[in-house]
């Protein structure tokens, strides 16, 4: 009999090699990239969302005149500006830094302060307004200084895309585990496999193989997404995006460790592919609920509900990434969420291995969890 490590590697290798050969994997990768490209490119290409709304802070009368001229020309730049007068340059700087203003015109109209993520057309409209206000030929544009980090809305957008991809990947690959288990049951190949290796090795190899494939596909999608986004000018390839990709990869692994064994058990309970939908329904609902709950965290990453949901399984794998990308999370909370998810996954893997071993050879008809659990107990007793 071959060692456990070797058995797991062989099973995992087969899962990866055979699935890479399936056209469906490449179709799904292509579709995800297309959708991602659509989300990133289409809004600007089609001019969705109408004029870009922005706030211009002004300090003093000269600056206010610049803003007035900019507002007069705003249609040409496809922007919609609202003006806020403030008393000092420091106050204007604070507005920009906090994301409450996109651009500030400094005292005397001598310079601009633009937020890091300020829209180019907004800055252009203000520059044009300044030229109009100063009059006489074409005076040179004002010097621009950027201020502050990105606004929350940019990070929210990234977090939203991240959680949608994470949700799709966790659910999709969970289903792959379930249908892979059912395939072996339905084709009876499982009997041949289990005459060579143990059920635990088969389960572990399958889950690890499919998980690695999911990770690889995510990496590919992330890479394409960043390249397309950067090319379309929709995405500054900056720290936030890199963090988002890293967070998604990490939490895919943690979430997959948590959910995949449950999917394998569900698959082991039914004899035919047709019954996968119904037997995995409870799992789908849990993942879907976690997905929707993560939207709450998107709006307010610091709320008590979001904090609690981001710590405990089964919602942590989708809520914590959103908080990580959209807001700031204390290190101890991240550590706790990872520890709890890993603990839950470890417990679930143990239970799953036991149930899977007892259920996977019952090829005739659907079996209940309770019956399988009892049978697993008897098997363990018989081996002693």
């Amino acid at each position: 009999m071959i060692g456990t490590g070797r058995a797991i590697r062989l099973v995992a290798r087969r899962e990866i090699v055979e699935r890479i050969r399936e056209r469906s994997l490449w179709v799904s990768t292509g579709l995800t990239v297309l959708v991602l490209a659509g989300v990133l490119v289409l809004p600007s290409a089609l001019g969705f969302g109408g004029a870009t709304k922005a706030t211009v802070a002004t300090v003093g009368p000269d600056a206010a005149a610049v803003a007035r001229q900019a507002v007069a020309q705003q249609k040409a730049f496809d922007v919609e500006l609202s003006v806020r007068r403030v008393g000092s340059a420091a106050a204007a700087q604070k507005l920009v830094r906090d994301g409450d203003a996109d651009v500030a015109v400094l005292p005397g109209g001598r310079g601009l302060l633009a937020a890091h993520d300020a829209d180019d057309s907004v800055v252009a409209a203000v520059q044009s307004g300044s030229q109009a206000a100063r009059g006489g030929g074409l005076p040179p544009p004002l010097p621009v200084r950027t201020e502050g980090g990105e606004s929350d809305s940019n990070r929210q957008g990234i977090a939203f895309v991240a959680v949608v991809i994470l949700y799709g990947q966790l659910l999709g690959y969970g289903f792959w585990v379930a249908s892979g288990v059912v395939e072996e049951k339905a084709t009876r190949v499982v009997e041949l496999l289990l005459s060579a290796i143990r059920p635990r090795q088969l389960l572990a190899g399958k889950v690890i193989g499919i998980g690695l494939l999911g990770l690889g596909q995510l990496l590919l999608i992330g890479l394409f997404g960043v390249v397309i986004g950067a090319a379309a000018g929709q995405l500054d390839v900056n720290g936030d995006v890199a963090v988002a990709v890293g967070v998604v990869l990490l939490w895919f692994l943690l979430g997959f460790a948590l959910y995949s064994c449950a999917f394998a058990v569900a698959g082991a309970l039914v004899p035919r592919q047709e019954e996968i939908q119904s037997v995995t329904a409870p799992l789908t609902i849990v993942i879907l609920a976690s997905f929707f709950l993560s939207f709450g965290a998107l709006d307010d990453p610091g709320s008590t509900l979001a904090r609690v949901l981001s710590l405990v399984p089964p919602s942590a794998p989708m809520v914590m990434p959103v908080r990580l990308i959209a807001g700031d999370v204390p290190v101890w909370e991240v550590a706790l969420a990872i520890a709890l998810t890993l603990a839950a996954a470890t417990a679930l893997i143990g239970i799953a291995a036991r149930i899977y071993g007892a259920a996977v050879l019952r090829t005739g008809s659907r079996v209940t969890l309770r019956a399988v659990w009892r049978a697993a107990g008897e098997q363990t007793a018989a081996r002693r």
Binding site: E18, E22, E183, T187, V189, L192, S195
Partner: protein, 252 residues
């Protein structure tokens, strides 16, 4: 068979191999063909057989060589790179056999290996099994094709309701049963001569001959005497029971 391969837990008793209870390591050196045929439908035939060889502990390069050898032997070389599901059922059956044989097992356990095979496949498989047996590998298989079993097997066991009701070499089983059927050919006799013999249970004519079944304690010499009284005895021979006859008798 499933208990031997560890796929099913026994209700009681132990399975021993060379005097020692079976463990997973020993089982992994067995070759198995389940009654419920099963291979990965979408996997290529050669890849599949290599995969099973490796799961049984054969190194990669040797697994590929062994798979190629068996595919050739089983007549599957031309379809080696096709997906298993695209093969005819007979060829899928051969591939299944390849998966059972590829790791050079020290015991072969095959559940109904001949069912679903065409005559050529039956010949190929018979030759492979004989060959394995000659090489010292015990081959245990189940079958309802009793003529084939009779031709192929050294020993048989007849199972009824999960219990062995007869076992041993076919010749021994025949001997135990005793020859109670005789084929008698008598020239110039009246057709009903045999009905006058007292211990005859059943008789039917078969061409020029009469096939007679005698009661258990009857003496065939009495039958011979009666035949000689009826006419010239051309033939008087015991009818060897076939395995099918033995089967009918012990199962009935």
């Amino acid at each position: 068979m499933r208990i031997v391969l560890g796929v099913l837990e026994p209700d009681g008793g132990t399975v021993r191999w060379k005097g020692r209870p079976l463990d997973p390591a020993t089982r992994a050196r067995f070759g198995y063909m389940p009654e419920e045929r099963g291979l990965y439908p979408k996997m290529r035939v050669a890849d599949q057989i290599v995969h099973f060889a490796r799961l049984h502990g054969v190194e990669a390069s040797e697994a590929r060589a062994a798979a190629a050898r068996w595919l050739d032997r089983l007549g599957l070389a031309e379809v080696a790179d096709r997906r298993t599901e695209t093969l005819s059922l007979g060829n899928q059956q051969r591939a299944q056999l390849g998966a059972a044989l590829v790791h050079d097992p020290e015991l072969l356990v095959l559940d109904e290996p001949f069912s679903g095979l065409d005559p050529v496949g039956v010949d190929v498989l018979s030759e492979v099994l004989r060959d394995r047996a000659r090489a010292g590998v015990p081959v245990v298989f189940s079958s309802h094709q009793l003529e084939l079993v009779e031709r192929l097997c050294d020993a048989v066991a007849i199972v009824r309701d999960g219990r062995v009701v007869a076992s041993g070499r076919v010749a021994e089983l025949r001997a135990q049963r005793g020859a109670r059927r005789w084929r008698v050919e008598v020239a110039g006799a009246r057709p009903d001569w045999v009905s006058a013999v007292p211990s005859v249970l059943v008789a039917h004519t078969d061409g020029d001959a009469v096939v007679v079944e005698l009661a258990e304690d009857a003496d065939e010499q009495a039958l011979l005497d009666a035949a000689r009284r009826a006419g010239r005895v051309r033939r008087f021979a015991p009818v060897e029971p076939t395995l099918a006859d033995l089967f009918r008798e012990v199962v009935a």
